[in-house]
């Protein structure tokens, strides 16, 4: 029998961390108590994307969208909504502008501009049930390829669709497949690059958690096209839920005969294995990834030879990113022409972005290419937190750059972002407001790069270290104006001479902040001031003698006894002793202490 109502509960990592699993158990318990467990089905789905307000619970068929649900809310949802048909008002999403409750996800600003292709099944199906995927036309693309299309025709269709690699570089996927097909060998490999390393990016994880079969199906299609019968997923071990879902999915696909030998009676064989990475950033680079899978150090090698010619174990290998693969089945079922209509001239389809930082709707979104940064940040993202002023948005992770106010109306696609001095990267988008210091931001990314550099080539290993030293000096107020020129020169040298993609793009955060926020660098160097009040070394704390009443609260709480003064007399801070921890500001009841 079929259920009359479905309760979808987000089972992504974010919502599970806030007791999502517990909510499912409580809902099932309450349903059983009310003898409704045969009429209402509770389903754990993948990520809905609206992580800011998780855990999310969605009730079908009336499409009610509950946010920040706690396990103890379960009985009320069953009693009120399921039995009496009254929505639980206090759990509905409140429109931040109009202050009214929005019950239906379609009326939420967050979803209005979105077009979900790669995320089509995330938050809709149960990722641990292959039948739900099949019910959404899953494996139909594979079946179509195996029974109706020649490998060359599949590649032609992918080429025609204009799909470009979603992992960062934006290389045309169809072309990549064609190269891998061209080389003859007794064994070829399809590799799924699930080594998602950009800080703040989690789209690949969400796809694997919410719709693992789309990746498996696409890998099999790729295998058919390039002539490979073995697939490998390289995933970082720190994604336990994604790994678990992927394993379940692979096992189910094998049980159903959609992986293995003689798939759908067509004589095509394909198997998939999972390989675990230790979470090194450089292993997202395809040659380093391949070496890591071979059991060697995760270090990149020069291309050519490209993996298409000599990859895993020296055999022709095609490496695609998770999000790229998730697009493949839809392109083949709906046709390249359909996909081609979405997006801009040179960047087709959609792109998933992970919104993070000082933005209201932190979460995972998917918009057509060509959507402007303004639309993404202000409409989908709901604007800047606490109504502060927008300062910059960092795209492309450590390889990307910071874009400013003047770039807000740029339509997002691969080429426009590069022209603006940043890049698409894997789609991390970190929004910064007036309180963020751009020199410190550049320093943060360089710290990451220095940490993650594999050390093989000297421009990256030594050059980035020197860049970091200069930036550290500047944030401590010890920089000189010559440093700016050195930063610029050194960055450009690293860009030109580093071995792999990681090194070649690593100075981007420095170059883009140098260009867009030159004044901030100058303020740090010449005036010894951090305009955003972030660089500790350049701050000093001061007590306003007019406002201080001499309550001694600050002096008693100061961990280093840097505050002196008699009772009922204004106090003073000994700046030589002060460690700028901010405790006194928090403690002062008279707002007498400020940062200057």
């Amino acid at each position: 029998m079929s259920y009359k109502m479905h309760i979808l509960v987000c089972g992504g990592t974010g919502c599970r961390a806030s007791a999502g699993q517990n909510i499912i158990e409580k809902l099932q318990e309450s349903l059983k108590e009310q003898h409704l467990d045969n009429e209402v089905q509770v389903i754990a789905t993948g990520c809905f994307g609206f992580c800011e307000k998780g855990p999310i619970v969605k009730i079908m068929p009336d499409n009610t969208f509950y946010v920040q649900v706690k396990p103890e809310d379960a009985p009320e949802i069953i009693r009120e909504h399921i039995i009496k048909g009254r929505k639980v008002e206090r759990l509905l999403y409140k429109d931040p502008e109009r202050k009214t409750a929005v019950s239906d996800s379609k009326h939420m600003g967050f979803y209005k501009k979105q077009l979900r292709i790669a995320l089509r099944n995330c938050g809709f199906i149960d990722p641990e049930n292959i039948e739900e995927y099949i019910g959404r036309d899953g494996y139909a693309a594979l079946a179509k390829c195996l029974s109706e299309l020649k490998p060359e025709e599949v590649i032609k269709e992918i080429k025609l669709s204009g799909l470009r690699g979603r992992g960062g570089g934006g290389f045309p996927t169809g072309l990549k497949w064609e190269f891998a097909r061209k080389y003859q060998a007794d064994q070829k490999y399809v590799v799924c690059n699930a080594d998602e390393g950009d800080p703040g990016a989690f789209m690949d994880r969400s796809i694997m958690e919410g719709d693992p079969h789309s990746v498996i199906e696409a890998m099999a299609i790729c295998g058919y096209s390039i002539g490979a019968d073995k697939g490998l997923v390289y995933i970082r071990a720190e994604y336990p839920l994604a790994i678990e879902r992927l394993r379940i999915a692979i096992r189910q696909a094998e049980e159903y005969g959609l992986l293995g030998t003689n798939i759908l009676g067509t004589g095509f064989d394909f198997t998939i294995e999972i390989r675990y990475g230790a979470g090194a950033f450089v292993c997202g680079e395809e040659t380093a990834l391949i070496h890591s899978m071979e059991g060697q150090r995760g270090e990149p090698t020069t291309k050519p030879p490209f993996p298409a010619e000599s990859g895993y174990n020296g055999k022709p290998t095609n490496v695609n990113n998770v999000e790229t693969l998730a697009n493949i089945p839809v392109i083949l079922t709906k046709g390249a022409e359909w996909f081609n209509k979405i997006g801009t001239e040179k960047s087709k389809g959609t792109k998933v972005f992970a919104l993070a930082g000082k933005i209201n709707n932190v979460g995972l979104i998917e918009v057509p290419m060509g959507t402007t940064l303004r639309e993404v940040i202000y409409e989908v993202g709901g604007g800047i937190k606490d109504n502060k002023k927008f300062k910059a948005v960092q795209t492309g992770g450590p390889s990307g750059g910071c874009l400013t106010e003047k770039h807000l109306d740029t339509p997002i696609d691969f080429d426009n972002l590069i022209a603006a001095g940043s890049m698409m990267g894997s789609g991390g988008m970190i929004v910064m407001d007036e309180d963020d210091c751009m020199v410190a931001v550049a320093k943060f990314y360089l710290e990451f790069i220095v940490e993650e550099s594999c050390g093989k080539c000297s421009p990256c290993r030594i050059g980035n270290k020197r860049l970091l030293e200069i930036l550290t000096r500047i944030t401590e107020g010890k920089g000189s104006m010559n440093d700016l020129e050195t930063l610029d020169n050194l960055s450009k040298v690293i860009k030109d001479t580093a071995l792999c993609g990681l090194g070649q793009t690593s100075p981007n955060p420095v170059l883009s902040t140098l260009e867009n926020f030159h004044d901030e660098y100058v303020a740090h160097i010449r005036d010894h001031k951090c305009p955003s009040g972030q660089c500790k070394a350049l701050l000093s704390y001061k007590i306003d003698p007019k406002l201080c009443v001499g309550c001694t609260l600050c002096a008693r709480n100061c961990p280093v006894d840097a505050i002196i003064g008699e009772r009922k007399e204004p106090h003073f801070i000994d700046t030589a002793k002060c460690i700028k921890c901010g405790t006194c500001i928090d403690k002062c009841k008279f707002k007498a202490i400020s940062v200057v």
Partner: protein, 133 residues
């Protein structure tokens, strides 16, 4: 589980599962579908609105009608219960009174299928918040 050996096997599973997840598909596109709301206040339930709702849930498909059936609270027509509000795509909602399963059948055959009105339509006696300009 038997392995899927042919395209036909795959299609069979797809069609079978599609019926199960159809509810979710429909909920995403309610504008193009008939929406049926069954009043399930105490008054409605006591005179059999549960049976009415069950009838709609079980019989619409065989009549070839794609609809979203939901429950709602008391609509205020307590003396006409069970009451059912039906909204066809692009049309004003209509409220029917005394909808027993038998009446539900009549509504389905006449109003839903042929757009013919049936006895028992209740006049709208209120404005909605959206209606006030």
């Amino acid at each position: 589980m038997d392995k899927i050996k042919t395209l036909a096997d795959l299609k069979k599973i797809r069609d079978h599962v599609q019926a199960k997840i159809d509810l979710r598909e429909k909920s995403e596109n309610t504008e193009n579908m008939v929406q049926i709301k069954v009043a399930m206040g105490t008054c409605g339930i006591s005179v059999g609105s549960k049976e009415t709702m069950a009838w709609f849930l079980d019989h619409l498909e065989e009549n070839g009608i794609r609809a979203v059936v939901t429950q709602t609270g008391c609509m205020g027509y307590c003396s006409y219960e069970p009451t059912v509000e039906i909204t066809k795509p692009g049309k004003e909602p209509i409220v029917f009174g005394h909808v027993t399963p038998k009446k539900a059948e009549e509504i389905t055959q006449k109003y839903l299928k042929k757009d013919e009105l049936v006895e028992g339509i209740l006049p709208a006696n209120y404005d909605t918040i959206e209606g006030i300009k």
